[in-house]
Symmetry: C2
Subunit: 148 residues, 2 copies
């Protein structure tokens, strides 16, 4: 049987490097964590600080400061929630959306290229496998549950 952990380690490290390399867009440089933050904000509808920080497994204080940086860069907007003014709601500015979209396109292109080395059947099998894996990871009681 395969060394499963090794397979995971290589795969996730490769994907991590890809993300890292995709962080320089049009003269705007953002860090890897900032890229993840933009991604999560883009994906959700006006999430709160806590929500995003938790999904990313980041300490809320570190997250708070990263958001401050992204606001300074003009990529993220913070809006107080009217019905509970303790919470701030996050959204992307147009520039932030542009950056997030560009990163997304690059990563998808890479994945397409990777899949181009497979048959259509293999590709579908792989994608279904990852989906199943995510579902089962979500069911696991051991670790890292919040994420989705």
């Amino acid at each position: 049987m395969e060394n499963v952990r090794e397979l995971f380690q290589v795969m996730t490290r490769r994907f991590g490097l890809l993300n890292k390399n995709c962080c320089s867009i049009d003269g705007v440089d953002i860090s890897l964590v900032q890229s993840h933050i933009l991604y999560e904000i883009d994906k959700r509808e006006y999430p709160s600080m806590q929500q995003v920080a938790e999904v990313l497994g980041m300490d809320i204080t570190t997250f708070s400061r990263q958001i401050q940086n992204l606001v300074k860069k003009g990529l993220v907007k913070k809006t107080p929630l009217p019905e509970d003014r303790r919470v701030y709601t996050l959204s992307l500015t147009n520039e932030g959306k542009f950056i997030a979209t560009t990163i997304d396109r690059e990563i998808r292109q890479y994945l397409e290229e990777v899949f181009s080395h497979m048959t259509e059947f293999e590709k579908e099998t792989v994608i279904r496998s990852i989906k199943l894996l995510n579902e089962c990871m979500g069911k696991s009681s051991v670790c890292c549950k919040p994420l989705f």
Copy 2:
């Protein structure tokens, strides 16, 4: 069709969190990068600094300092290579091996638990899928090749 990038993002983030949570063993705390370094040294036969740094996509100077920390902690040994004394050869001490092994066991246990939510057939399909994916990522010309 599924949002493939999203699937990858969730999966790799979960696995990343798992690694992060596995870094405290028996009173010895190591950081996530340090855990990756131990893993790679353990996997190889007396690799050089450069080799490991490159595989991990780390700046060599950052890597050098991390190795110094691990040596101070008594987890890693640096030996100059007799035939070329510029290069240092890395290996784990007994304590380092113990830490690496313990981390490995924990991660494997988690993965086993995840797979326990699948049929044997699904499990094998998923593992074969990840293997295929790694092979195709290795073939890709776009990004992140060195890794393996």
